[in-house]
Symmetry: C2
Subunit: 289 residues, 2 copies
């Protein structure tokens, strides 16, 4: 079913944002079997654009973090470029303190990383108040810079994978504040395909503002005992205070009750698009709502 995504003989070309050794790379390894050729992009806009243009078979992007919330820009880009969700993966975010292979903790004066990663290691910095925080553009990019520039008094906060990739050393593991920190990634491609094992569906819809409109839209799922797992709203440009709703629910678009629910939802909405039907990663996911 995934024949269009990966080829047994050739490497699958996957666009990601940021440098090699990132969490996006880890998520890719989890979702794409076989050899992968990465297309590293500077921005998410570039990731979506190059995937939509067919420069790669698919892309892997973060969509939500269990502490920071949705990556709203990627919801907007998903609709703008008409890509489809093929797989999801919930990755635990575990931060390591990474240095040049010859450095010891006593050498480290400055710690560089993406601001979100620095924030997620607040307790670590409280325990080591002499360390200066430095803002980098990327977690794995910070490891790359420290290695390339040979900065002996610097450390980076990034994944173990980044240390391995750039030949750096993991000084400390799990320095993040909270254990319960996951990021959900999507594998996207310009083609849609539903596997038989798919048990989760994502849709986006809008409706004319009227009292009870959202309630009615949710009723099409509740009346058929279909579990929701997420709702997200985003503004509609040119129509102030009107919203696009993104909804994830448990079910396969091939099931009768899901087909009926979507047909019912179609009666209530102005725009309705199925963004994808894919196997749920239930590893770290709670029951629906």
């Amino acid at each position: 079913m995934d024949a269009d995504l990966h080829d047994k003989r050739n490497a699958t070309r996957v666009a990601i944002q940021g440098e090699r050794g990132s969490f996006s790379e880890e998520a890719t390894m989890q979702m794409v079997p076989g050899p992968v050729e990465f297309l590293c992009c500077r921005t998410f806009d570039e990731v979506f654009l190059r995937t939509a243009r067919g420069e790669c078979g698919c892309c892997v992007i973060p969509i939500e973090n269990s502490l920071a919330g949705s990556i709203h820009r990627n919801y907007d880009l998903l609709v703008r470029h008409g890509l489809r969700i093929r797989k999801e993966a919930n990755l635990p975010v575990q931060h390591s303190l990474i240095t040049l292979s010859g450095s010891a903790f006593e050498d480290v004066k400055t710690v560089r990383s993406h601001p979100v990663a620095l924030d997620q290691c607040e307790l670590f910095f409280k325990r080591h108040p002499h360390l200066v925080r430095e803002t980098g553009y990327d977690t794995s990019g910070s490891v790359k810079e420290i290695v390339e520039e040979g900065l002996r008094d610097h450390a980076a906060i990034a994944s173990r994978n980044a240390a391995r990739f750039y030949g750096a050393k993991v000084l400390m593991e799990r320095i993040e504040d909270r254990e319960e920190n996951f990021t959900r990634f999507f594998l996207l491609s310009s083609k849609s395909s539903v596997s038989e094992t798919a048990d989760k569906t994502s849709v986006v819809f809008s409706f004319k503002n009227a009292a009870g409109a959202l309630f009615k839209c949710l009723s099409v799922f509740a009346l058929r005992d279909i579990d929701l797992t997420k709702i997200e709203s985003r503004p509609i440009h040119g129509r102030p205070w009107e919203y696009l709703f993104y909804l994830d629910f448990l079910g396969n678009t091939g099931e009768a009750r899901v087909r009926n629910a979507l047909s019912h939802l179609g009666e209530l909405t102005e725009v309705l698009t199925v963004l994808g039907c894919y196997p749920r990663d239930a590893t770290h996911e709670k029951k629906g709502m």
Copy 2:
């Protein structure tokens, strides 16, 4: 009713994020009558903290933009610091090109502003491809810098108000791409108070994940013909993939149907807090959902 917010004899002390001359200042002038003394803070965290500590009577913060969406951090801070919503104001975002009073358009080579403001003037930059974009930390702060540093070949993108405040010149008005761009501001204080003219209420709640839970929560409003105007979800820290829901609806907490709806909602939720009941700014707002 607003006696705790403003005093006829003394200036009301209001915390805002950023420099004087900003959109937050304009929103304050719209919501707070009489003289105002501004407490300019570097970050939103500082705004909330100083208001919660009682260093000022209230604060004014943006909560949502009709193009960019919610300012999610401010939803998180609202709950963390236990502040209450007292008023709202929807301000049209209109950008001006602002220079030193002696400069002409021909002198301008570089345009400095907050990245969001630069993005909102995309068509302006397409019409004038020779202009170099420069990222500033703030719209009105960019005007302040250009005036203080006497940069004759620079312009800033900010509100008319910023030009007036810093004695700069408005070279062009309404250079933003779209007409329909509004930002919704809240006036917050540590005390709650409901006026008789209040016709909008904001609540935040969470529930144990279970099929149909969100649908049931919305039913308490739909069954009583209460219009929703906004729903926003934010992650709950320490409980991955569970959410706090922020809901705005039309009604006063003194009305029987609203009291009943909230009591009903209390039966279905784990946590339920009324964040405020305040007069709706319907100037640029559509009918509920």
